[in-house]
């Protein structure tokens, strides 16, 4: 377990944080995915893809729950956590600005497009991505190309070459 954790945890957290835009939720979902790995270990050759699929499902389910909690906070502002984090220094503010831009761009993609691009970023094979999003391996190249076009336009990737 220690080896699996060392190999996959950082990658899983990064993927989930990018996918959800919520690092706390990503950390909890990644942890929960490993707990479930203890409960129901998959085939040894499928561990990484299994972790990402389970982590994605957990994160999406918890994001829906959190959405309900946020709506509750909006209706009951007195119950909201008091205070805000202290003002960030310039570097942190710039990082936060970058995160907002990236998250806004990712948020404009469909969940499917976001999932496949982010899984590709983590080095998954097209076959594994296809299994995760429920499509055929042969269609992944086209889907990546289209999703990449959309995200490149949102992030102006080609302009900054």
């Amino acid at each position: 377990m220690a080896r699996l954790f060392a190999e996959h945890h950082a990658s899983l957290f990064r993927y989930l944080a990018r996918l959800t835009g919520d690092p706390e939720l990503a950390a909890d979902a990644a942890q929960e995915a490993f707990v479930r790995l203890v409960e129901r270990p998959p085939r040894p050759d499928h561990v990484r893809a299994w972790l990402f699929t389970v982590g994605t499902n957990i994160a999406r389910e918890w994001a829906r729950t959190r959405g309900r909690r946020l709506r509750l906070l909006e209706r009951n502002p007195a119950r909201a956590p008091i205070g805000e984090p202290p003002p960030a220094p310039d570097v942190a503010a710039e990082a936060e600005h970058r995160r907002r831009l990236v998250q806004r761009a990712l948020g404009r993609l469909s969940v499917r497009d976001r999932t496949l691009l982010l899984m590709r970023e983590e080095g998954f094979r097209h076959r594994e991505i296809a299994e995760a999003i429920g499509t055929t391996t042969g269609s992944i190249g086209t889907m990546i190309a289209r999703a990449l076009d959309k995200l490149a336009a949102e992030l102006r990737l080609d302009e900054e070459d």
Binding site: E24, R69, L72, A145
Partner: protein, 257 residues
């Protein structure tokens, strides 16, 4: 009719080539085409740069990966957990992660060379949980969640996901080897970490939490909603401290009690 060599590569083929996903025949033919087609070669170069740029942009916007415990590996907590149920009461909500933590504890105990009585104790606790869940009767009574584990190190972190409507956490050091956390309404999910516990509570909760820590613990750090709320030293722990969790009554960072 144009041969495969003469036909321009479509976007999907370029992606497959870049990702190393093209089959041998496709790879050979695409590579030969690229060598003689400036247009496709330029498109392939643009795709490669765009992909590399995306990797850079995403990495620059990443959050740092928080340190996380390794579930039940060496050095991780040896969890002994049970859900203490009052006779005849039914679990209204069974927090998945709390149950997972229990299973984690069972797995850890089973997988490690711990004394047999710990395994028996844990297995018995799990049996009680399952049995009580099945035969519950009264519909609305709350049930407690209790988690017990042996912490690593001399500092402990108690991390609440949110401020609550009301409620408090009471922490006291005793001459025991374990940390015990009791949630009196059983609604929160308790995640056991090597040096603490993460309590996934709800903003509308009114729960009270009782925490017992070993006397060897020198410092307990209580965080609420990602912020340090209180740090309790050994003296405070020996005397016992009650920290309100309600947003309106919680003390500012660094104080409390």
């Amino acid at each position: 009719m144009a041969s495969l060599m003469d036909r321009h590569l479509d976007a999907a083929a370029l992606v497959r080539l870049l990702d190393g996903e093209a089959a041998a025949a496709e790879h050979e033919s695409a590579a030969a085409h690229l060598a003689g087609c400036r247009r496709c070669s330029a498109r392939f170069g643009a795709l490669r740069r765009r992909s590399a740029r995306l990797t850079q942009v995403l990495a620059a916007a990443d959050w740092p990966c928080p340190p996380m415990p390794v579930p039940h590996a060496g050095g991780a907590p040896r969890v002994r957990a049970t859900r203490a149920l009052r006779p005849g009461w039914r679990i209204r909500r069974a927090p998945a992660a709390a149950a997972a933590a229990i299973l984690l504890g069972v797995a850890a105990v089973v997988a490690s060379p711990l004394p047999g009585w710990i395994g028996a104790w844990t297995a018995a606790g799990w049996s009680r949980l399952v049995g009580a869940t099945d035969k519950g009767t009264a519909p609305e009574a709350p049930s407690r969640t209790r988690v017990r584990f042996e912490p690593v190190g001399v500092e402990l972190s108690l991390d609440f996901a949110a401020y609550q409507q009301t409620g408090a956490i009471t922490v006291r050091a005793l001459d025991v080897p374990y940390v015990e956390v009791t949630d009196d309404d059983g609604a929160a999910t308790l995640l056991v970490l090597p040096a603490g516990i993460r309590i996934l509570n709800d903003v509308g909760s009114t729960a009270e939490y009782q925490v017992t820590v070993p006397a060897r613990i020198q410092r307990v750090r209580i965080r609420i909603a990602g912020r340090d709320a209180v740090i309790l030293d050994a003296d405070r722990l020996a005397r016992g401290a009650r920290i309100p969790l309600g947003a309106a009554e919680s003390a500012p960072p660094g104080q409390g009690g």
